[in-house]
Symmetry: C2
Subunit: 248 residues, 2 copies
């Protein structure tokens, strides 16, 4: 980061950026498909409250869609659409985060239901996965509210916004990393509980679970790289500067 | 990060920096003590190859000391000693990384021994924890070798060093995050296997394990914050600039 200084991207850098963004999409979608196959094929498919065991299966699927794929794309939106009207991108950024939050909420509902509605109810919130996961969702929601009030509506003054921005960006990226770490612990728990004797024999399901974990790590690493590497590269157009000042 | 621009730190920023570095040390040491108490008190203490079960207990202890505490301090050394001779700090940075690697190697030997020397030998390298952990140690070692050759001895030309530096910093921070994620999965595995029925009853050991995980997350988050927030704040003295040019 020491040399990630402010400069306009060269055309070869922009080509690399575009390919890396496409790679993130490809890996992100692969992750979503892999968790869907794990839960849908190996773990018996999906159901809602009629079958709490199968309702659980929505939890990993919806958390990966919301807290990795949509959240990651919300972060990348600022870099991908760097030449478009900033207000539109802010709205897109906020909407993608709302979608992420909706998926995460349904995913949380699924796991609480799967514990509480089981014939032999299971306790909630005792594992490190659940502690870090809940912390992550609370931080994510707080970040959304603070971001909305500070940058979208009603907005705070330009000076305060400038001071808040580094924290908004840092926590945005940090919370994405917390989400990824929580997913890795969730995969570990699920693999151990679902394959108590077989996980160590490297069955297809175990390999799939491990590859899913590595793909989530790759997705989040690439997103953080793109955000930090291309952090200064949104060219502020005169029109935007005017907009920023005029819509104080 | 968008506003983490190059500027000299104000005295209040430097005070905040100093307090945050002290906080990292305090939390890092707490983490080391907690994992020592977990393994030493709750898991029966330590032994070498005479008792493979107890030999395992060195694994979490040495990995946390090496891959979180020493590795984190190696990263911070550049910021903490920003006013000292750069060559000395480079050597300190490299030495702290070597110490981290020694602890990690003994920690890895402990876990392989605990599997291979057990009466009923256990399989190695099937879990996501082990896959990401091995990847992390290989990346860490490669980063050390590339960093040593590029920046310490024999060194590459200044132009190439400048181009390599952002990648060196990015991967340094990323590998620390991978190490933390691997620890979290290790804690999850150990908690589930050690307390198969009790973990969900929130016993003291479970609370300790969870708090250890959260503390490791806090340590790594603070280190990444300090590195990215204060990234530009090493003032290059004329003497150093002379040194950098003259020792090409």
């Amino acid at each position: 980061m020491e040399s990630f200084e402010s400069h306009q991207a060269s055309s070869s850098e922009m080509r690399a950026f575009t390919w890396l963004v496409l790679l993130v999409q490809l890996l992100g979608l692969s992750g979503v498909i892999m968790v869907a196959v794990w839960m849908g094929h190996f773990r018996g498919g999906f159901a809602w409250q009629s079958n709490p065991d199968l309702e659980f299966n929505y939890h990993p699927l919806f958390m990966v869609i919301g807290m990795i794929f949509l959240y990651g794309d919300a972060i990348l939106a600022y870099r991908v659409f760097r030449n478009d009207n900033k207000l539109y991108i802010k709205i897109l950024h906020a909407c993608l985060h709302v979608s992420a939050l909706i998926f995460a909420s349904v995913g949380l509902k699924a796991v609480f239901d799967s514990h509480n509605l089981a014939k032999d109810p299971k306790p909630n919130l005792y594992s490190l996965h659940s502690w870090l996961g809940l912390t992550t969702v609370i931080l994510f929601s707080s970040q959304w509210v603070i971001g909305f009030v500070s940058f979208l509506w009603p907005k705070v003054g330009m000076g305060l916004r400038r001071r808040l921005m580094p924290y908004h960006v840092f926590f945005g990226v940090a919370i994405l990393c917390f989400a990824c770490a929580t997913c890795l612990m969730g995969i570990t728990e699920k693999a151990i509980w679902s394959m108590p004797k077989d996980y160590s024999k490297k069955p297809a399901e175990g390999i799939l679970a491990n590859c899913l974990g590595l793909i989530l790590v790759a997705v989040v690493t690439l997103i953080v790289y793109l955000v930090s590497r291309f952090e200064y590269k949104r060219p502020p157009s005169p029109e935007e500067e005017h907009l920023q000042i005029s819509d104080e």
